[in-house]
Amino acid sequence: MSVDEKTVRRIAHLARIAVTDDEVGPLQGELNAILAFVEQLGAIDVSGVEPMTSVTPMAMKKREDVVTEGGRAADVVANAPETEDNYFLVPKVVE
């Protein structure tokens, strides 16, 4: 499996990473090198094998559905580039 330029641009858009025209070619080469490397996995017989869902077998931890912390809005927004009244500010999303 290999990717063409159009696919590279599509993946970049899915990943929300801007790529310039100059970057597309080299990226395509690098991605194809990695895809060529993983191609060998197609030859392995995985019939009847379950995909790994839990690395270390364990029961899901649960807790009581009660509020145990919070009220730290100022801490939560402290590192944001733009805030107002403890809201995160972003460019307009909805027209």
Binding site: M1, V3, T7, V8, I11, A12, H13, L14, A15, R16, I17, A18, V19, P26, L27, G29, E30, L31, A33, I34, L35, F37, V38, E39, Q40, L41, G42, I44, V46, V49, E50, P51, M52, T53, V55, T56, M58, M60, K61, R63, R72, D75, V76, V77, A78, N79, A80, P81, E82, F88, V90, P91, K92, V93
Partner: protein, 503 residues
């Protein structure tokens, strides 16, 4: 710098002590915590050419050391009281910038402490600073950091060429080897503790997945990441892991198991243990020096009373390609949060989508972008089954190989840690990313199976560079790893730390 007396009466520089020796010296009042920390700060100031620390925190370190001295005076010393450590810049440290080696978090100051570092401060340790790493822990040479390469304190005989310390925990390994801290925290997703430990002649352990809490550790691949220590001896590593590990309700993947006395396990010996030698790790083109090291390791363990048995782990060669599907896939999900909204860099765009795209293009380095994109691709519609699900099935097979070996009576598995000794900075900067990935061929299997693995120095190659051996253990049996690694450390002799060419 004042010399301090060891237990045997000999005088050494404070930086030459192991962590265990420093702990004794502090308790016996042969040195104060302040003196010990100051000695390390002085060494750090002389070693900036290595670029091991992204951020030094001398004021905080001295304040913590003074607090430690007060504890000693009050007879209330905790397990790591006054011990100066470096913290990989992937662990959130409250009030101290945490960058993950990336431009996108250049100004991020966490308002909370990671579970692992909080455990160290709970036990009285001192923070010297934040250690350099490959960006978002993605790399095997510490050449992808936005804050510059780390230079290894080791050099080839008769050469001044700069060598890599390995990665992603390159700063941690370099700082420990160069005596810029008594120990360091690190993380391992595909080998990022064990490979740099092997390249720098230090000891590094990646514990079982779930042994340490990942809360507050910047995530790369959530089903593979695990924190662990790098130190100069097996005993030092055991001491550090004892503090770093432990249950945490905030991390669902962190198991509710009590922390064993790892330090006590170090002197257990290996009589009666069966050590497996997996034939699939004997790869084509393996340098004879590494094969010899591996044979020596087996011989030392046999002399010490272990039984050596050849075993087969049939799916070994699938681990690296499967890892390069699973890890980037998980990374693409984990790094989606860096979008210029809640923290970190923001680059404006014509609209919000433009802001996301410009921010991430400017904030991420090349390797990170590459891995996010591979991950995005293998998770995308039409490819998810062929790539990600298949890789996760192969993971089940990889883990099953180990389970069957252990069920057949193997206690631990001995392999080389790396396919070579440290290479030169820039040497693997070819257009093919896969060439760099091959550094992890012996280590990724362990992360894919969630098992514990330790790298221990076992010899020096013809160029005067360290070589390490790896031991892989049963789930939650780090104790056996420490016991076996100790036998190797004693048989091989302590790897002589490099002469400071930088001072």
């Amino acid at each position: 710098m004042r010399a301090v007396a060891r237990e045997d009466g000999n005088s050494v520089d404070p930086n030459e002590l192991t962590l265990a020796e420093a702990r004794d010296a502090l308790k016996a009042k042969r040195i104060s915590a302040r003196e010990l920390t100051q000695a390390h700060l002085d060494a750090m100031a002389k070693a900036r050419a290595l670029n091991a620390y992204i951020l030094e925190t001398p004021d905080r370190a001295l304040a913590m050391a003074d607090a430690a001295d007060q504890k000693f005076a009050a007879g209330a010393a905790r397990p790591l009281e006054g011990i100066p450590l470096g913290i990989k810049d992937l662990f959130c440290t409250e009030g101290v910038t945490t960058t993950a080696g990336s431009k996108i978090l250049e100004t991020f100051v966490p308002h909370y402490e990671s579970a692992v570092s909080a455990n160290l401060w709970r036990d009285g340790a001192v923070m010297l600073g934040k250690l350099n790493l490959d960006e978002f822990a993605m790399g095997s040479s510490n050449e992808t950091s936005a804050y510059g390469n780390v230079v290894s304190p080791w050099r080839r005989k008769g050469s001044e060429a700069q060598l890599v310390p390995g990665g992603s925990s390159g700063g941690s390994a370099a700082a420990v080897a160069a005596r810029l801290c008594l120990g360091a925290t690190a993380t391992d997703t595909g080998g990022s503790i064990r490979q740099p430990a092997a390249f720098t002649g230090t000891v590094g352990i990646k514990p079982t997945y779930g042994r340490c809490s990942r809360w507050g550790t910047v995530a790369f691949a959530s089903s593979l990441d695990q924190a662990g220590p790098i130190a100069r001896t097996v005993r030092d590593c055991a001491i550090l892991l004892g503090s770093m590990a432990g249950p945490d309700a905030r991390d669902t993947t962190c198991v509710d198991l009590p922390v064993p006395d790892f330090e006590a396990a170090v002197s257990r010996g290996v009589k009666g243990l069966t050590i497996g030698i997996p034939k699939e790790y004997r790869v084509d083109g393996m340098p004879p020096e590494i094969q010899k090291l591996w044979d020596d390791g087996a011989a030392w363990l046999k002399d010490a009373g272990a039984t050596i048995r050849e075993i087969s782990l049939p799916h070994t060669s699938s681990a690296l390609p499967a890892y390069y599907i699973v890890a980037p896939a998980e990374a693409s999900s984990n790094l989606a949060r860096y979008d210029g909204v809640r923290y970190g860099l923001r680059v404006p765009g014509k609209d919000i989508a433009g802001m996301y795209e410009n921010t991430r293009a400017a904030g991420f380095g090349r390797e990170v972008k590459r891995r996010i994109m591979i991950g995005t691709y293998v998770l995308s519609a039409g490819y998810y089954d062929a790539y990600y699900v298949r890789a996760q099935k192969i993971r089940t097979l990889i883990k099953r190989d180990f389970e069957e070996a252990y069920a057949a009576g193997i206690d631990a598995i001995l392999t080389p840690a790396t396919p070579s000794s440290a290479f030169g900075i820039g040497e693997k900067a070819s257009a093919d990313p896969v060439e760099m990935y091959l550094n992890d061929v012996f280590t990724v299997t362990v992360n894919m199976a969630g098992l514990p693995g330790i790298a221990v120095p076992a010899g020096i190659d013809g160029q005067g560079l360290p070589l390490g051996l790896q031991l892989i253990g049963r789930p939650f049996d780090e104790e056996t790893l420490f016991a076996v690694a100790q036998v190797i450390e004693q048989a091989a002799g302590r790897t002589t730390l490099p002469e400071p060419w930088w001072a």
